[in-house]
Every structure is written in structure tokens, then in C-alpha cells.
Amino acid sequence: MTLGRKLARVLIGTAIAGSLATMNAAVALAEAVVPEAEEPGVMTMEAPKPSWFFVRGGWGSAGTSIFDAGTGKMIGMVATSRDSDLGIDPSGKFYYVAETMWSKVNRGTRQDLVSVYDSKTLKLLGEIPTPGRLIVGGFTTNFVLTDDGKTAYDYNFDPASSVNIIDLTKRKFVRAIELPGCAGMIPNPGVGFSSLCADGTIATVAIKGATQDITRTEPFFDAAADPIWSNTVYDRKKKQVVMLSYTGVVRTAAVGAKVEVGAPFSIQEAGGMKAADVKPLDIAWYPGGMQPMALHRPTGMLWVLMHKGEYWSHKEGAEEIWGIDLAAKKVVKRYPVEDEPSNIQITQDDAAMIMVNGGGKDAVIIDSKTGEVKHKIENGGSGLITVVESM
């Protein structure tokens, strides 16, 4: 039935049946003339800006809200269904959402796809069916775009590890690469991608057309005793990944055909304390949360969510955020934070505004230079925070 038909039915129906307040008012109104009446419309947005935070709602939420760091105002929302992953086209033209839906909410046919949205109208431009993906949400490393924006890597675990390669230009799934014992992707431009592995190595998948070579670093961490957060942070310009372990060991690695892991340092030692360890009863400042660190790439400042506690408290929210000069390996700022946030992000512009969320109802924007709270956004979302990285 067309809408016209439906409207006609309701109006005739109401007319026959009884009270017609709206229509009577409309009649009265018609006589009053209405020069100030308005027209409905739909906004368009600007291309993604470095001053924007893309903030996922809480567990089970279906949207990613965009907030401007300067004003604290909401700019718009990308539809990101439950446990989906958002990718932002480096050229700013598209938003990509890797998602999984069932045809009847929680039953029926499973559908895995990458939805493509125009970044200005937020209209759905297309859907790319994929074989499957890990349903988890909360990680930046499960759906990664290449620097040229032409390829997406989509992590799958079913429960076997693999990576789907998606051609974003042709909007087509290309093929899957098995990735046994490893998970998530670190961009590795011109090579393929790299990945953290259970044996304490980084595996590098060099993609050559329809085949690939997989090489590994030497083991450099203990995946069970002192794990590195899957939410690593990648710096496109430096081609460098920053890694953080549960005890607070910070490592960087230069990506390339051969990944080179740099010398680690202790975040506590960088703050003038003794390094934390894995023993119970030892109280120390530990990093914690789901997205426990953010890197301001232009200045090489790493911001980490820190709390006092014992080891195996790695999901606990923060009491302070620590600003670490990565080059100097020194903690140079410590700011107290409220509500035990578990996610942190920072804009990649000169403003260098931090957002933390995930503890209370507010998403909080903090000036990284002063520690001053600039905005508290009620119901601002409690999930993963993404920013645009300049190319």
C-alpha cells in the first residue's frame, strides 16, 4: 500500500469515526495564513575532520556518534550495528562499517558485510558481502584500511583465525588468509599487514597477488603472562606501531617487510617509580581499560589510562591519565580523571584534545596541554573512540 493510500485511509477513517482535532486545527490555521511555516530538510556533513571524535555507544548500541572536540557538540551519527567495526576512508569520502546481522534480530540468516556510507550525506552507498568476521566490537585492529584506502582487512575468528581481504574500489571480497595463532591487524604499507601472535611474536603477512608469505619476529613478549593489548596504536607517518603490556611495558616496532621491535621501557620507571610486575599483592600503578592508550602522533606523546592496583586488574578504569614522551621515555604529565574511564583517544591536530569514556555516563573532553576538562557530554557513549589520522 502506498503512503498516499494509507494517509487517505486514516483521514477518512478519522473523519467517519469521530474527533479530528488536528484537522480542525488545520482548518482554523488555514484561515490564519502561515507565512512563517517551515520546510523539512536533511543536513549534510563535512568530510571527517581531525577535530572529531567518533564514539561508539555502550555494549549493544547500534550507533557511533560524532562529536566535535572544540565545541563538544554532536555532529552526526554513523549507523554501526551491534559489535560492528568502523573504518574511515583516508581520503574522507566514505565510512565503512564491517558488521554482522541476522535477518530476524537474533535468529534467521546470518549476514556479514561491509556497509559503505557517503561521508557527507551518510547515505548507504553499497554493501559488500563477506564470509564472516569476529563478533566482538571494542577493538581498533579488527577492521583496518590501507593508507591508500583501496583495501580493507577484516579479522575473522569462527573459531579459526583468518583475515578477509576486501577490495574497496571494486567493493568486492577478494579472498581470506588464514592467520593461525594471531589476531588483529597492524597496517604494514606496501607489504600487507602485521599481527600480534600467541607465541609472543609479530607475524607479517606479505601479500603477493593470490599468495602470501608469512614471516615472524623473534618472540618478544609472553602472551599469557604479560599480554600486549590487542588495541595497539599505529602511526602512519612514522610507520611505527606502539604496544602496551598489562604490566606497563611500552614497546614500539617499525613495520615493513621485516618488523623491527625497539627496546621496551617500563611506564612506571618512566614516571620515576619501580617497574610493576605480575606478582599478586604488589600494589603499583597499572594501565587498564579496553582502549587504554592514545598516541598524539605529531608530538609523539602517548596517553595512558592508569590506576592503582594489583596485577590482573587490566580492565579496571583509570584514576589518572599519564602523558609519556615516547622519545624521552618520560612521564611528563599526570592528570586525575573521574568516573574510571576505560577508553581514551586524542585528536591528531595541534589542539590535541583528549576524550575519555566508559566509566560513567559522560564522555569527557580534556585539554591535553593543561588537563582542564573542557566538555562533559552526557550519554556521549561508552565504547571505542576513533579519530582521523592525517596522512
Partner: protein, 180 residues
Amino acid sequence: MKRFNPDAMGEKLLRRLAGGTSRRGILSRLGLALVAAPVFPLLPVSRAEAAKPDRSPEAKTMFARTAQTKDDTKCNYWRYCAIDGALCTCCGGGIHTCPAGAEPSPVSWVGSCINPDDGKAYMIAYRDCCGKPACGQCGCDNTDRETQLYLPQLNNNVIWCFGTSSMEYHCSTAMMIGAA
């Protein structure tokens, strides 16, 4: 009591109530429907016009007495006297504009709100923006003259996303239709 005079209803007004500008099919049927309508007791929303309106403080609802005209991102903005939902003005949209990617419903529920600046009542169409997940910002639930399901045009619980490609609710706008 005022009598019903369909000839006095301009097409422009009908269009505003019914939504888009290219729905001539709706409009002609709407006209027919109204021609067929008998006379009914006038309801509060139209009484303002029917009789000389009482705009004294004593006649104003609590909402009207405390409403403001400066900030349309607050629940007490004057037009929101019967809104229920997230304000689109807080979601990247405007007072009568949907945020990017949302679709304005061609139909709406209505309210009659008093502008404190001129003391006059205006008819407001609350038009939902649809097809995106709930915005979640600036949730308001004002209830001046808000009724139940049998008077749906004056009920604000219904998700007014009819005729849109998706009925998912994102946020609500408050479009001014004209003097009430």
C-alpha cells in the same frame, strides 16, 4: 464552535502537514477525506482559534510559563511543549532539519505551543527523523495536550516514521506550521 470549511485549506498548508512537496496523490485524497468529514466538537488545539484565546499566566501550562525562546537544544524551548524523544538540534540536525543520513517522516504528530515572546500560540509539527539508531542526546518528554493512541495525531509515544524506508527512530524535530 467553528465550522469546517475545506475550501479555506490551501494546498500549501496541506502539504506542510502531509510532508513532502511531490505528494500530490496524498493531497488530493486528503482533500476528499476532509470534504467527507462531519462536524465535531472542537478540541483544545483548535479552541485557541475558535474563541478569543486566554493568554494570561493563569491559562498557561507549567511548560508555557517556563518556556524560553533562545536555546533550541534545551527541553524547555517553547516549541517542544509536546515533544517526546531526542532533540534533533542536539544530534547534528536543526529545529526542522534531520541530521545527515536520517529521513524525515512525511507525517507527524502535532502540538500547540505558546511563544513567550509574543504570547501567541503556534501549531508545531513534530516530525521524526528515521532510519538511524537512536541519537541518545537531549531526551525530552513534554506532554502539553498529549493524548492517547485513539487520538494518534496528539500522541507522542507512537514512532512517527510512516512512509519512510525504515521505521527506526533517530530524533525529533519541531517544525512550525503557523499560528494556532
